[in-house]
């Protein structure tokens, strides 16, 4: 792998890590959903950089297909998370009774 695809791959890995850390922090839910999406973009960037096979050569189509599928999955997941968040916001605020859950 030449230096510029490697640069993209490393950038992708960094974005993946940053997004993952942010998604695990105790933030507002919307921020965490966005963080998960950013983290996903990092993985996609890695995959796209792995598709590079050299100057004037056609890129490897398989990682592209993987990225497309991944985007579809990410959209569906974000949609479900947002729908749940909306339902949670619409519920009347009940007193949170203590159970022995962690």
């Amino acid at each position: 792998m030449g230096s510029s695809p490697l640069l993209y791959a490393v950038t992708g890995a960094l974005i993946f890590g940053i997004g993952l850390l942010a998604s695990l922090r105790d933030e507002a839910l919307l921020a965490r959903i966005i963080a998960i999406n950013i983290s996903g973009v990092g993985v996609f960037l890695m995959l796209v950089s792995f598709a590079y096979r050299g100057f004037e050569l056609a890129p490897d189509p398989i990682p592209h297909a993987l990225v497309l599928t991944g985007i579809v999955v990410a959209v569906a997941a974000s949609g479900l998370a947002l729908a749940l968040e909306k339902r949670l916001a619409e519920l009347p605020k009940s007193k949170t009774h203590k159970e022995d859950s962690p």
Binding site: S23, A81, L84, R87, L88, E99, S101
Partner: protein, 485 residues
């Protein structure tokens, strides 16, 4: 011949879509689908037992481009487990959700979850495994919210979803590392190629940590008790019995088939150590849990821990034959826990539905009022603790003798302590339930179809698996599952 693989995956998918479009038919259709799955699962395991291995490339696409399905004995055994548990839970769910509207929303997601489980068990390619993992996480989280009116339940479903997404992303990052290093994602093409390179180690860590989140191994377990403890009973049953189990199945495939050249005994010992912590800590939390469903959820944590304790013991076994037998014990333990835990959740659901709560300190009189459901809980307890003649007894026996054989006596201490603790928390439940309240008229309206599934599953776990374990070993010996260990 291998079209049976397509049938296993496509039938629940079609059922899911049909239930979405024709909700009026969904109750009857679901029962039919459950039966068809059970028959197909039986046929699959029968053909695997006769030595046929299944492989199919969908649409005739060459490997690496299309979707490939394959089944060996390990996958076949788990397909049958899923078919049994989901049929029982389907029969139960028809009575459990009394509101028609709730059932109409439940069935499409229910069969989508089944599709994801079967597709995961049969996939022969890392990227398809990622897609099925996501499908599994999304449909499971959505199912947790069915009929949920409390913020607590929705919040834990949301946390379950987010953690599932994090796990899948870690897995996807691992998949992309594998592709960068080896240029293929097909499990069979990869199996011979894996070598000890830095990129391979990173990939192994990413894939394993993603799946360990989904398996809820300590310290990545914190989402499980809340999610499994607040979902509706049939959903909890499937989550605890099947969903965490298929993530573990994937770990077995990765560790023992793909990455076996990279697996070191240090890594295996580390995993076993985390499993041991899960066994003890999960049992202690179950012992102090205030609600029955939380008790069952913490018990899942500890029982999943045993599966990880098997790993270092198996890895240290000297020769092929004993390793194969040990692997059979591991599978037997997984099957036994799956069936018994489903029975436990279904039994608890009956009590919760009738009494309106599942607090352990207010269980007095339950054994009188719900004799069948409570008997099922007791039998499930026998199988979960691992008393003879249950399958878990044989599996734990094999674990203990193998740990002595390989000179790792500390795993025996963990297993025995965990067993004692499990007996303690079950006796606590039985003790609370057998307190009599004086003569009381039996409650009406507890139908047979609500109580029978729990009882059938509990009998299967306690007697069926224990007495029929020999045939399981035969089937596993036919397949390549243990052979590649």
């Amino acid at each position: 011949m291998s079209t049976i693989l397509i049938v296993v995956v496509i039938v629940p998918l079609l059922a899911s879509l049909t239930c979405l479009m024709l909700p009026r038919l969904s109750d009857r259709l679901s029962l039919g689908t459950g039966l068809v799955q059970l028959i197909t699962g039986g046929l699959l395991i029968q053909s695997l037992a006769s030595g046929i291995s299944h492989f199919h490339e969908l649409g005739g696409w060459s490997p690496g481009l299309g979707i490939a399905l394959r089944a060996d004995a390990l996958a076949g055994a788990l397909v049958l487990l899923c078919a049994i548990v989901s049929l029982a839970a389907t029969v139960y769910a028809r009575r459990y959700f009394t509101c028609v509207e709730t059932r109409y929303r439940f069935w499409p997601l229910w069969w989508l979850l089944s599709t994801a489980i079967y597709a995961l068990l049969l996939s022969a390619d890392l990227f398809n495994l990622y897609v099925t993992l996501e499908l599994l996480g999304l449909s499971a989280a959505a199912l947790c919210t069915i009929g949920a009116a409390k913020t607590e339940a929705l919040r834990s479903a949301l946390r379950y979803l987010m953690l599932g997404l994090v796990g899948s992303l870690l897995f996807l990052a691992g998949v992309s590392m594998v592709y960068a290093e080896y240029g293929t994602l097909s499990l069979m093409a990869l199996a011979g190629q894996i070598a000890q390179t830095p990129a391979t180690l990173v990939a192994l860590l990413l894939l394993s940590s993603g799946l360990l989140v989904k398996c809820a191994l300590v310290p990545l377990h914190f989402w499980l008790p809340a999610a499994h403890g607040s979902a509706p009973a049939p959903v909890s049953a499937v989550l605890s019995a099947l969903v965490v189990k298929v993530a573990f199945y994937l770990l077995l495939r990765l560790w023992f088939e793909l990455f076996s050249p990279v697996m070191t005994s240090l890594f295996a010992t580390l995993i076993g150590g985390l499993g041991a912590i899960a066994v003890i800590w999960g049992s202690l939390r179950a012992l102090t849990a205030a609600r029955l469903k939380l008790l069952a959820a913490y018990s899942t944590l500890s029982q999943m821990g045993y599966l990880f304790v098997f790993i270092p013991v198996l890895a240290a076994l000297p020769d092929e034959e004993t390793r194969q037998l040990g692997f059979g014990a591991l599978v037997l333990f997984a099957l036994s826990h799956g069936i018994a835990k489903a029975a436990l959740f279904l039994g608890i659901g009956v009590i919760q539905l009738q009494v309106g709560h599942d607090r352990i300190d207010q269980l007095a009189g339950s054994a009188q009022r719900f004799p069948i459901a409570f008997f099922a809980i007791g039998l499930a307890g026998v199988a979960l603790v691992g008393l003879p003649p249950s399958g878990a007894f044989l599996a734990k026996w094999s674990l203990i003798s193998n740990s002595l054989l390989t000179g790792q006596w500390w795993w025996m201490v963990v297993t025995l302590t965990g067993t004692l603790l499990a007996a303690a928390y079950f006796i606590r439940v039985l003790g609370a339930g057998f307190v009599t309240l004086g003569p009381e008229a039996p409650v009406k309206g507890v139908g047979v179809s609500l109580q029978a599934p729990a009882l059938v599953l509990a009998c299967l776990a306690t007697f069926g698996l224990g007495l029929g374990a020999a045939s399981l070993w035969d089937v596993l010996a036919m397949g390549s599952a243990g052979g590649q260990l």
